[in-house]
Amino acid sequence: MENLSAGVVMPGCGPLPILRNVSFRVLPGETLGLVGESGSGKSTLALTMMGYLSEGLVKLGGDVHFGGHSMFEAGTGTLQALRGGEICLIPQNAGQSLTPTMTIGQQIDEALMLHTDLSPRERKRQVVELLEQVRMPEPAVIARRHPHALSGGQQQRCAVAMALAGRPRVLLLDEPTTGLDVTTQVHILELLRELAKSRQVAMVFVSHDLGAVARVSDRIAVLYSGELVEIGPSTRILKSPEHPYTRGLLASIPRMDGARVPEVLPGYPPPLAGPRERCAFAPRCSAAKDPCTAGRPALDVRGERYRVRCHFRRDELDDPGSLVRPSTRPRNGVPASSLLEVRNVAITYSRKSLLSRFTGKEDRARVLTVDDVSFTVHRGETIGVVGESGSGKSTILRAIVGLQPPCRGDIRMEGSRPLDDRVDTRPLACKKEIQLVFQNPDSSLNPRKTVAEIISAPLELYFGMERGPARERAAQLLQSVRLTEHYLDRTPGQLSGGEKQRVGIARAFAAEPKLALCDEVTSALDVSVQAAVLDLLSNLQREMGVAYLFVSHDLATVRSVADRVLVLYQGRICETGPVESVFAPPFHPYTGALMRAILEPDPDRRPRVEIKDTVESAPPRQGCPFQRRCPHKPGKICDREAPPAQELANGHRIYCHLSPAILHS
């Protein structure tokens, strides 16, 4: 790709480039990782490599060459021959990208028909063979199924199989693993690495997740606001990056090795604008000097196939401090008085069967989404809850808040009598103490109200404030979440993801709660914005002494904010205890698998695949919840008896039949 620029042409005001003269080369068999946050133009870049510009986008300059063909000048005939043949795309969300009305077999067969000259019978056999290559169980059955009948991971594998149909020389992967479970992600990445090596296929792996990119890439390119800011061998980029943005990005990724809140990259990426005469990152760069704002730096060569777009070399920057900064969050030693107690809570969504309603006996047949969960949250403390999707972590939050009444056990606030099951019957004062922050920023704010109205709603409710004082208090709250006052009159439609999440937090803190329930608040955000929100939460905890119940599927995020942590599988607790001891051996087999599957942006750490990524629709009737997938399963005992709680140092408990010795290895 030479000097490619593309963008939107708005009527009345010249072209607004999304990509600005991007140039790079991919050698056969080489894997290039392409990293950038949302809005950096990485997906557009991926598709330009196939000569495709989505509606409304226009090529402003430069070209893309593949095997001697210019992808933009080539005729539709050649383009159709190349696409899906020598150069294939593996889409982000395979579920959406497979034609719903055609079976998997038909779609792969179509790719074979277009790009190979096999006979129909040979194609049929080749389809099964391809599905085996991507390790699909019972390929013949899968071939006859429609896309909606498969799990996320299976759909993604089919997309890969379809891409391999035409014996491609280049594979373009546009965020292939985003949205998948951690274990499934690792499986897909392993598959891709193997294919690349075994078939000498070049790959361009586009993602916002530096961990995933580090796992598969030989070289990495970092994209910021449509410009390549740094490109070079992956070890060089991950270990000792030169460009301040790359360094900031790496710093803002929560790491497993130290309990500290990730570094915060101040400010936001610049909005779409016309020609740019300065370094795009200058306004956010702590080491910015005059030349940065004077002229636009070029990509100067700083090593063998290694270029950086910055006026200064690394050592010339005035704060070459090491990346890892000591944790700024004080650990409060003595545990304060207990705030929330959850005792042996069990929750189910299925209604009581008729029979048991009469006899009053416990209904054996009912599927318990959450069973026998107990923990206490102390004042000012942060409890992390970790688990894959479907582990019941959000159900527990709904129970605490009163939306989903538990069918057994009880929840108490400050040792008082148990909270009423239903939120409607709870006293207002009690509701004031617990506030909820949601995962999806877009849907958590009422689109038709201004920020001022949103924040003053709890103020009017709990403190009976009038409009005037409520507006001032709202301004103060916005201040505390680092948003300026003129946001008050904007509607959610005019805010970015990060800004909306901050307003959500400000609304929660307007009630001055004692406990804040954070339901995956950072999963929907970009890494840098995620870091800012985590930082904001810990500051607020310090100022207001509020306790958090922080739910997330990302171990690293929980590691960086939580004091104690809970590992959940199919609604049962596998392991609990302080963060340091849980995230260090001995591990519960499930925790171990999760820890080893973590994708860290560190070339030396190779995640190992330990458990199958099969999907379990319901927890086992009895015995250990992890019995079906446990790699170290000792024997039948796990199927019959629920695992006992093995008490280890300072409250660290592991629910497993295995002896601590084995757990240590």
Partner: protein, 320 residues
């Protein structure tokens, strides 16, 4: 699969029964009853009483409804007041005629609408789209009777190509009917096409912007195959249900068209029977219209389940 079929049939029957109740209740609720309505000015004294006796109107409403429903179940719709003939005899041929008119219009209208809808959807915001959407908007908003009057004025009176008024023996066979219903069919098809076209176009536009169409293009599939193999099946599925609703909605339009062309269908019959205050006949026709409506909906529902792989799998338990 059978379970779904049975459930839909039961709900269809329930709807029909409900419509019967509503039709009866509305007739009851209106001022006066069949006899006063029918006898009009002469409805006094002994003549009114024996009319009521003959129609057993003097019994309580609930009892009469039971009788009516029982007869209905056996297909005996009772007798028409004005024409002194069993209603089946009167309604039978006219029901057939209306169904013929509707079906012929649908056979022309629906395929035309789908073809135009796809054409307009695929070439969105280009000349064909503007022309097609413009004409379809006109057809949807100009009342049927204006279009019908216009067609008569141009094709029947000025050029005398087609008959202005349908003249048919009551037992006319299909071969005899067709040349005589050209203009009514064109009017009905014109309006029907407009509605269905707009829906198809919207659905096609949505499908054209979908991920799987983008993926198919990036898979190197030629444009024509993308449109027909990938986009059309899932674009046309949602339209089936809405097409059924549109057809049923147009039933009321048929009444006006039949009046203008003097076409011997249910429409003209109901207008005439309303003018004649022939209540039992009106009730019977209301049921007939409801019957057509429910049948069309039922067929559409089953068609959708059959054709949509997602629904079919949910129904027959095959799933991920």
């Amino acid at each position: 699969m059978l379970k779904i079929l049975v459930r839909r049939l039961v709900s269809a029957l329930f709807t029909l029964a409900f419509v019967a109740v509503v039709v009866f209740a509305v007739a009851e609720a209106l001022p006066g009853d069949a006899c006063t309505a029918y006898l009009g000015r002469l409805a006094q004294g002994e003549r009114l009483d024996n009319c009521r006796a003959s129609l057993d109107l003097d019994q309580p409403a609930a009892k009469r409804f039971v009788h009516w429903a029982r007869d209905l179940a056996q297909g005996d719709l009772g007798n028409s007041l004005k024409r002194k003939k069993p209603i089946e005899e009167i309604v039978g041929p006219r029901f057939r005629n209306t169904v013929i008119l509707g079906t012929v219009a649908a056979l022309i209208g629906i395929p035309l609408a789908i073809v135009l809808g796809v054409f307009a959807g695929v070439y969105r915001d280009k000349i064909p789209d503007f022309v097609i959407s413009g004409v379809s908007l006109l057809a949807m908003t100009i009342p049927e009777f204006v279009i019908a009057t216009l067609l008569i004025f141009v094709f029947a009176i000025s050029f005398q190509w087609f008959p202005a008024v349908t003249i048919l023996p009551t037992d006319a066979g299909i071969r005899e009917i067709l040349p005589n219903i050209v203009l009514p069919v064109i009017t009905l098809a014109f309006v029907m096409t407009a509605h269905i076209l707009r829906i198809t176009r919207a659905s096609v536009i949505d499908a054209m912007h979908s991920e799987y169409v983008k993926m198919a293009t990036l898979k190197g599939v030629p444009f024509r195959r993308v449109v027909f193999r990938h986009m059309l099946p899932s674009a046309l599925l949602p339209t089936i249900n809405i097409v059924a609703l549109t057809i049923a909605w147009l039933l009321s339009g048929v009444v006006v068209i039949e009046k203008v062309f003097n076409y011997p269908g249910l429409g003209t019959l109901i207008i005439q029977s309303i003018f004649d205050r022939d209540l039992p006949l009106v009730q019977a026709i209301a049921l007939m219209f409801a019957l057509i409506y429910i049948a069309v909906n039922l067929i559409a529902d089953l068609l959708v389940i059959l054709l949509n792989p997602k629904l079919r799998s949910q129904v027959s338990g095959e799933g991920g």
